[in-house]
C-alpha cells in the first residue's frame, strides 16, 4: 500500500504509514491540521467467535483506519455487536464466549498472552446502547476513569480533565452549574453524551459505540452524530448502528455483516451507491433486515 497524504475532507481511507499511530493530541488541541493521517488502527484477521457451540462470527477480516468512523451494519443477530466487543475484550465477561483469530491494536495482538485487559480498556473506550451513567454525580462519572488510572495529580488537574471532557462531549454548557447533580438526572441524550465524556476522559485511542443512538430521539441523535464527526479528528471510532441513514451520515467506511459473515466492506459512498453483494443491496434498500 502506498502511503499518501489526504485532505481532511477527503473520505479516501489510505495509509500514510503503517505501524504506530501517533497518539491523538491531548484534549482540547483544536488546531485543525491541514492533513489527517489515516493509519491502520485495528486489524482483525480470521476472527471466529463462539458462544458455547454456536458460532457467532465466521472468519472476519477487517481493517479499521484511524481518525475516521467505521460503521458496522447488518440485520439483528448478525454478530456486529459481538464483533465490536472483541476490540476491548468485553466478551471476556460473557460465560462460554470464545474468540479465535488475531486482532491487533497498533500492531499489538490484543488476544495474545500477557495482554492486560484493564490496560487495553484504557486504550479502547466504549459507549453502550443504553446510556449507563453511574448513579453518582456528573463530575464523578467523568472523573472515575482518570481517578482509577491515576491520570490527575491533585484536584485542579482533575477538574481540568472533567471540564475539558465534558466540553469535548458538547455537554459542558448544559451541566456547568450542576456538576454535583446525579448523572441519572439528565435526559437520555445528555446521559449518552455524559457516557461519551466518561469514555474520552481517559484519553483512549479508539472509541467503540454500540448503537449509541438507538435509545435517543432525533434531536439528541443529531447532537451525538455531530459529536462523532468532531471526535474523529482525535480518535478512531467504530460504531454499530441499525440505521442506514446514520451510517451514511457519520461513517467513512462500512462493513456489512449478515448471519455471522462479513459480507462486504468498503467506503461508505461505494457501499451505498454500488454494492457488490446482493445481500448488501437487499439490506440497504430495505428488503432484508
Amino acid at each position: 500500500m502506498t502511503p499518501i497524504a489526504v485532505q481532511s475532507n477527503d473520505l479516501e481511507p489510505t495509509i500514510l504509514k503503517t505501524g504506530q499511530t501517533p497518539r491523538p493530541e491531548r484534549r482540547g488541541s483544536s488546531t485543525e491540521k491541514e492533513t489527517i493521517t489515516h493509519a491502520r488502527s485495528i486489524t482483525a484477521r480470521g476472527v471466529n467467535v463462539f458462544y458455547g457451540d454456536k458460532q457467532a462470527l465466521k472468519d472476519i477480516n477487517l481493517d479499521v483506519q484511524s481518525n475516521m468512523v467505521t460503521a458496522l451494519i447488518g440485520p439483528s443477530g448478525c454478530g456486529k455487536s459481538t464483533f465490536i466487543r472483541c476490540f476491548n475484550r468485553m466478551n471476556d465477561i460473557i460465560d462460554g464466549c470464545r474468540v479465535e483469530g488475531e486482532i491487533t491494536l497498533n500492531g499489538e495482538n490484543i488476544y495474545a498472552k500477557g495482554i492486560d485487559v484493564v490496560a487495553l480498556r484504557a486504550r479502547v473506550g466504549m459507549v453502550f446502547q443504553k446510556p449507563n451513567p453511574f448513579p453518582k454525580s456528573i463530575y464523578e462519572n467523568v472523573a472515575y476513569g482518570p481517578r482509577i488510572h491515576g491520570l490527575a495529580r491533585g484536584r485542579a488537574e482533575m477538574d481540568d480533565i472533567v471540564m475539558s471532557s465534558l466540553d469535548r462531549a458538547g455537554l459542558i454548557d448544559e451541566v456547568r452549574d450542576r456538576l454535583d447533580a446525579p448523572g441519572t438526572s439528565l435526559s437520555g441524550g445528555q446521559q449518552q453524551r455524559l457516557c461519551i465524556a466518561r469514555a474520552i476522559a481517559v484519553e483512549p485511542e479508539v472509541i467503540l459505540m454500540d448503537e449509541p443512538c438507538s435509545a435517543l430521539d432525533p434531536i439528541a441523535t443529531a447532537k451525538v452524530e455531530e459529536l462523532m464527526d468532531e471526535l474523529k479528528k482525535n480518535y478512531t471510532i467504530v460504531i454499530v448502528t441499525h440505521s442506514m441513514h446514520q451510517a451514511a451520515r457519520v461513517s467513512q467506511w462500512i462493513a456489512f455483516f449478515h448471519l455471522g459473515d462479513l459480507v462486504e466492506q468498503g467506503e461508505t459512498e461505494q457501499i451505498f451507491t454500488n454494492p457488490e453483494d446482493d445481500r448488501t443491496q437487499a439490506y440497504i434498500t430495505g428488503r432484508i433486515g
Binding site: 476491548n88 468485553m90 465477561i93 460465560d95 484493564v118 490496560a119 480498556r121 484504557a122 473506550g125 466504549m126 453502550f128 443504553k130 449507563n132 451513567p133 453511574f134 448513579p135 472515575y144 476513569g145 482509577i148 488510572h149 441519572t184 457516557c195 466518561r198 469514555a199 476522559a201 481517559v202
Partner: protein
C-alpha cells in the same frame, strides 16, 4: 339465536365476566379480613395479658432500722451489713400495722403478703447509705406475687371475688391496707433490668434481653461479613462450573435445614470439641450465625443480581479492574439489599429457640450477663421457661416477654424497610 351479532355476544358475556371479577375481589377482601382478624385477636390477647406485668404492687411500711439487728457489732462493715435479716425487719414492721395479729399461723399468713425479695431492696438501700441505720423510714416494699395478682384482678379486694393463694383473712388485711392507702400499684421498672427469678414478682426480662443482644452481636459480626463476601465471590468472581453449582445447591439446602440441627452441631463442635463456655452468648451467637449465613448469602446474591449489568460494563469499559468494578459500583448499589437480608436474618435469629436449647442457653440464670462468655439465656428461651412455670403470675410475665420480643422484631423489620426505602436508587 343465530342472528346475534358479535357485539351482542360480547355484551352477553360481559355481565358474567364483571360478576366473576367482583366475586373474586370479595374473596380477596374476605381472606385479608380473616387474616387480619386472627392477627389482631392474637396480638390483642397477648397485649391485654402482658400489659399488667408492667405494673407491680407495693405495700408501705414504717421500718425502724434497728442497729442491734443490722449491725450488732457496730463496725458498719459491708460484710456484716449484708448478712443482716432485713426481711425480718420488714415483717416486724408489717406486724406493727396489724397489732392484733398474735398467733403464729396468722403471723405467717401476714408475712406471706410480702415478697421474698422485699428484703433485698432494703439491704441495697442500707448498703448504699449506711447512715440510714438507726433511723425510721417509710418504705414501699414489694408485695408477693399472689397479692400482686389479686390486686390486679380485684383492686378493692372484694370478699366475693376469690383470688388464688389469698385466703379470707389475708383478703381482710389487704382491704384494710387499701383503706389506709398503704398499698399501691406502680410502674415495674425492675422488670426491664433484672434477671430471672423463682419469684414471679422479682423476675425480669433484662437478663434475657442482654443475652439476646450479645448473641445477636456475635451473629451479626460473623454472618454479615462472611455472607457478604461469599455472595460477592460466588456472584461476581467464581467460575460457573460444577463445583460452584454444588456449593450453590448446598447453600440453598442449608437455608431450609431445621434450626435444631444447627443447635446439635453447636453442641458437638463448639462445646464438645472446642470446650467453649456452655450457655454463653458467644456459642449461641456462633450457632445462630451458622443458621443465618445461608439466608444472608442468598439475600446478598439476589441484591448483587439486581444491579444492572450495564453498571458493571460501564465500569469495566473505562478500565476498572473487576475488583474495582465490584467494590466501587456493584457492592455499594447492592448494600441496601444486603443489609435488608442481614436484618431479616437477624430477626429470625432473635426469634430462634431450638438451637439455643441444645447449647444450654435454657438454664435458669439469675445474673444479667455482662460479657460474651457469661452464662445467659435469650428472649424466646425466657418465654419458653416462663410459660413452663407453675406460678400463675408467670402467665402475665410470659405475655409481657412476648410483647417485648415482638417489639424488637417490629423495630428490626422497620429498620430494614426504612433502609431499603432510603438507599433505593433508580437507574
Amino acid at each position: 339465536m343465530t342472528d346475534l351479532t358479535t357485539i351482542d355476544r360480547v355484551n352477553k358475556g360481559l355481565k358474567r365476566r364483571y360478576r366473576s371479577e367482583r366475586r373474586f375481589r370479595l374473596y380477596g377482601i374476605l381472606a385479608i379480613a380473616l387474616a387480619l382478624g386472627f392477627l389482631a385477636f392474637l396480638l390483642g390477647k397477648v397485649f391485654m395479658e402482658g400489659m399488667s406485668a408492667f405494673q407491680k404492687t407495693e405495700i408501705s411500711v414504717r421500718i425502724y432500722l434497728d442497729p442491734m439487728v443490722i449491725d450488732p457489732g457496730g463496725t458498719r462493715a459491708k460484710a456484716a451489713l449484708s448478712k443482716a435479716d432485713y426481711q425480718g425487719l420488714i415483717r416486724k414492721s408489717l406486724r406493727a400495722v396489724f397489732p392484733d395479729v398474735k398467733n403464729r399461723r396468722d403471723r405467717r399468713l401476714l408475712s406471706k403478703l410480702l415478697s421474698m425479695g422485699a428484703g433485698f431492696n432494703l439491704r441495697k438501700e442500707v448498703l448504699d447509705d449506711p447512715g440510714l441505720i438507726g433511723k425510721t423510714l417509710t418504705v414501699w416494699t414489694l408485695a408477693s406475687d399472689e397479692v400482686d395478682m389479686a390486686f390486679k384482678e380485684n383492686s378493692s379486694f372484694d370478699e366475693s371475688v376469690k383470688s388464688q393463694g389469698i385466703n379470707a383473712r389475708q383478703s381482710a388485711w389487704l382491704r384494710d391496707l387499701k383503706g389506709r392507702g398503704l398499698i399501691r400499684e406502680v410502674f415495674n421498672k425492675s422488670f426491664f433490668f433484672s434477671g430471672d427469678s423463682r419469684e414471679p414478682e422479682l423476675a425480669g426480662i433484662g437478663g434475657a434481653v442482654m443475652g439476646s443482644f450479645l448473641s445477636l452481636a456475635v451473629t451479626l459480626a460473623l454472618s454479615f461479613p462472611l455472607g457478604a463476601m461469599t455472595a460477592v465471590y460466588l456472584e461476581e468472581f467464581a467460575p460457573k462450573n460444577r463445583w460452584t453449582e454444588i456449593i450453590e445447591v448446598n447453600i440453598n439446602n442449608l437455608a431450609s435445614v431445621p434450626s435444631i440441627i444447627f443447635g446439635l452441631l453447636g453442641l458437638s463442635v463448639f462445646l464438645n470439641v472446642f470446650n467453649m463456655n456452655r450457655s454463653s452468648p458467644m456459642v449461641g451467637g456462633l450457632v445462630l450465625a451458622l443458621m443465618t449465613l445461608p439466608t444472608v448469602i442468598i439475600a446478598g446474591r439476589a441484591a448483587l443480581k439486581s444491579v444492572p449489568p450495564s453498571i458493571r460494563e460501564a465500569a469495566l469499559s473505562v478500565g476498572a479492574s473487576p475488583l474495582q468494578a465490584v467494590f466501587h459500583h456493584v457492592l455499594p448499589l447492592s448494600m441496601p439489599g444486603m443489609l435488608t437480608g442481614a436484618i431479616i436474618g437477624m430477626a429470625r435469629a432473635l426469634g430462634e429457640t431450638a438451637p439455643l436449647l441444645m447449647i444450654g442457653m435454657v438454664a435458669f440464670i439469675v445474673d444479667v450477663p455482662k460479657g460474651f462468655l457469661d452464662p445467659a439465656t435469650a428472649l424466646p428461651v425466657q418465654i419458653f421457661l416462663w410459660a413452663d412455670s407453675p406460678e400463675r403470675a408467670f402467665e402475665e410475665k410470659t405475655a409481657a416477654a412476648i410483647v417485648i420480643l415482638l417489639g424488637f422484631l417490629v423495630c428490626m423489620n422497620l429498620i430494614a424497610v426504612i433502609m431499603r426505602k432510603r438507599f433505593e436508587r433508580k437507574w
